[in-house]
């Protein structure tokens, strides 16, 4: 049942360009409380077949980054204050809205964080999955329904034939998440942004979904941006990692270096807060304090009020994202010392 897509003319693409490139992206929200710098200089490159994990505190701007790439940011109050997003060399931000809309779901697709509210409660799930095929591939209802059943099976929904006509509320949270995944992968996208795709799933289904995403990635040489809190999943599937904090990338490197030689205190704090499955443990180590209010950022490094290594320098000068090793960058004044393990935390903020 192969049909050729009716969209995405490819003649303008630069074959030598990376699949997706984000350069110095700035996004702000203009609210009554002032201007909130949600994204403040985001940079990364995603190649075909690669998995980039974006990790970071809640509110650090992971979903806003994803929404901006997808072109579904709420504007206003959102406002793109600068930067570029290039898909195969083409700047998405200056592209005609009509053209950009055609890329959405076809070339760049997204699995949303909140599966519950992203599905339409008054339409059967099969209809919602099938819509992708009716709209983009001009399939008739029957064909689209068949495709929907295939996809539901592919993401592991039991009794797909019988449940294709069910409504979202009749499925558990995890199954709704799998339905969202089915919709996102329906049209074999080049870039898939998965915003916490397995947070609602149990570990066996999580493993199944990650295997499925991996398979799709290999089949279609798809680039995958995986937004997650789960350091286990990241260790399992990511090639590269960007750690975000308060709208900035704090550390960016390959997956092995992050776990073995973190060069940013926030990354270190995250790794140390992990509960262990092989021990009951008493109190968990935490990163004390709260992330800053975006409308009222501290001077200097945004992490300084919570940082066990902060000095006066950190309270006045904002550190740039600079290299500590080949392909490993960190936005910390003491990145060299952290990387070498030659720095100790100040007493008073240790918890």
């Amino acid at each position: 049942m192969s049909q050729s897509p009716t969209t995405s003319p490819t003649q303008d693409y630069d074959p030598s360009a990376p699949l997706l490139e984000v350069k110095d992206l700035q996004v702000e929200f203009r609210t009554k409380a002032g201007v909130a710098q949600a994204i403040n200089g985001m940079n990364f490159t995603l190649n075909a077949g690669e998995t980039l994990a974006i990790l970071g505190e809640s509110g650090s701007g992971k979903s806003v980054t994803a929404q901006t790439i997808m072109g579904i940011l709420d504007m206003p109050p959102g406002h793109i204050a600068g930067g570029e997003i290039r898909y195969r060399g083409q700047d998405l931000l200056s592209m005609k809205p009509e053209r950009r809309r055609k890329l959405r779901g076809v070339s760049i697709s997204m699995i949303f964080q909140d599966a519950l509210s992203s599905l339409n409660p008054v339409l059967p799930v099969g209809w919602q999955i099938g819509e992708m095929f009716r709209v983009h591939h001009r399939m008739n209802r029957k064909q689209a329904r068949q495709k929907a059943i295939e996809l539901m099976k592919r993401v592991g929904i039991p009794a797909a034939e019988q449940r294709v006509g069910n409504y979202p509320h009749q499925f558990s949270g995890g199954m709704r998440q799998r339905i969202m995944i089915a919709m996102a992968i329906a049209l074999d996208p080049d870039v898939l942004i998965a915003d916490e795709p397995t947070t609602a799933l149990d570990v066996t289904v999580q493993a199944q979904v990650m295997r499925l995403l991996k398979e799709l990635q290999v089949e279609n040489n798809m680039g995958l941006i995986l937004i997650t809190h789960d350091l286990g999943v990241v260790a399992d599937v990511a090639d590269k990692i960007a750690v975000m904090y308060a709208g900035r990338v704090m550390e960016h490197t390959d997956v092995f270096s992050i776990y073995s030689t973190p060069a940013h205190p926030y990354t270190k704090g995250l790794l140390e807060s992990l509960p262990r499955i092989d021990a009951e443990g008493d109190r968990l180590s935490t990163v004390p304090g709260l992330p800053p209010t975006l409308t009222d950022m501290p001077p200097g490094c945004p992490f300084n009020p919570r940082c066990p290594y902060a000095t006066d320098l950190c309270r006045t000068d904002r550190p740039e994202l600079l290299p500590v090793a080949d392909g490993h960058t960190s936005a910390c004044h003491y990145r060299e010392e952290l990387y070498a393990g030659t720095i100790t935390a100040r007493e008073e903020v240790q918890s």
Binding site: M175, D202, V203, Q206, H229, A235, S273
Partner: protein, 350 residues
């Protein structure tokens, strides 16, 4: 007290008051089919014969496949859904027969923190109104210090800025919204808090803060928790006992070192084997038990043992005889499996 035969540590909650006593709870949802005329063609057996006790100050973790009935069980314990059969005794009272004022009073004492911080908060209500909502529903529980001052105190307790009391949910990140849910859950000084995936949306440093917070609150107020989560490390950390559910039933129930150190039900073993390890250098080395086939249709579960269609140990008896949840030879926890046995290859302790 301590068991000299197994060398097991004594159960610190053995003598504590039983707060919740759940017996053979059942909830089926009718499945309706048909375009114009809806006919009932079957029933999803969301919860099908679940029993357990929860003691004062204790945390019972519940894990299991998505769709196995964890949230439905939570709703039954909140009486947001009415069970088809079974009993729930809450502090000696028959909880399911309570009506009117008595039900309202009991309900105050069992609170829930929901799975989804995005849809469980009304977007048109300010954070202050959301946290104060329990006082509107239960006017007799209004705090003497004044609602607003209590709400600010609650915001502070969960680590949010009390000055943000007039903000709306969309102005907070997912993790911050989850704290709002916790503050609301704490408002009426409950005895039991059911936490349905309370930390799944949080990054690990904030997750650690929230878990420490839940533990502090438990210590301070003697709270009992039912803690539902998919993250097995999180469940291990916070729970005293763990129930593993599969398709509406409890497959294995025991103290955390029993479940994690010596799992005896094949499903528990599969779950533990699938936990990703936060260490990229061991990538691909994990001996994951990949379950065969698909999860069965919950409206038409397999005969006998519900796990048998996916189980590598299944034999004829599994098809004909429904295994009871009981202590089996060679284990100290209760397991609903005819072939329950420790698997040398699977334990979270190696």
């Amino acid at each position: 007290m301590s068991n000299p035969n197994t060398g097991a540590q004594p159960d610190p909650f053995a003598d504590s008051e039983v707060v919740l006593d759940v017996n053979d709870l059942v909830k089926h949802f009718p499945v309706k089919e048909g375009i114009l005329v809806k006919r009932t063609t079957g029933a999803v057996q969301a919860v099908d014969g679940v029993s357990f006790k929860l003691r004062k100050g204790e945390t019972l973790g519940i894990v299991g496949e998505s769709g196995c009935g964890k949230s439905t069980l939570a709703k039954l314990l909140m009486r947001l859904e009415e069970p088809d059969s079974g009993s729930v005794t809450f502090r000696g009272e028959d909880f399911l027969s309570l009506r009117g004022a008595a039900l309202r009073r009991a309900r105050r004492k069992i609170q829930i923190i929901f799975q989804d911080p995005y849809t469980s908060l009304n977007p048109r209500m300010s954070v202050g109104d959301i946290i104060a909502e329990p006082f509107t529903l239960h006017p007799d529980a209004k705090p003497a210090q004044g609602v607003r001052s209590r709400v600010k105190e609650l915001l502070d307790v969960v680590g949010l800025n009390p000055d943000h009391i007039n903000r709306y949910p969309h102005q907070f990140s997912g993790g911050q919204r989850q704290r709002i849910g916790i503050a609301r859950g704490l408002a009426l000084n409950p005895d039991v808090i059911i936490c349905d995936e309370p930390v799944s949306a949080l990054d690990v440093s904030v997750q650690a803060q929230v878990m420490n917070l839940l533990e502090d609150l438990q210590q301070e107020f003697g709270l009992s928790y039912i803690f539902i989560a998919h993250d097995l490390s999180v469940v291990r950390h916070i729970s005293d006992r763990v129930a593993v559910m599969y398709l509406g039933r409890i497959a294995e129930l025991g103290r955390d070192h029993e479940i994690y150190g010596a799992p005896a039900h094949p499903y528990t073993q599969a779950l533990l084997s699938a936990v990703p390890v936060p260490d990229p250098t061991v990538r691909g080395q994990r001996q994951e038990i990949v379950l065969k086939g698909d999860p069965p249709n919950p409206a038409n579960p397999p005969s006998g043992c519900r796990f048998r269609t996916r189980c590598w140990k299944a034999t004829d008896i599994c098809e004909t005889e429904d295994p009871v949840l009981e202590v089996r030879a060679g284990t100290t926890q209760r397991t609903a499996c005819h072939h329950a046995a420790q698997n040398e290859d699977v334990s979270a302790l190696d």
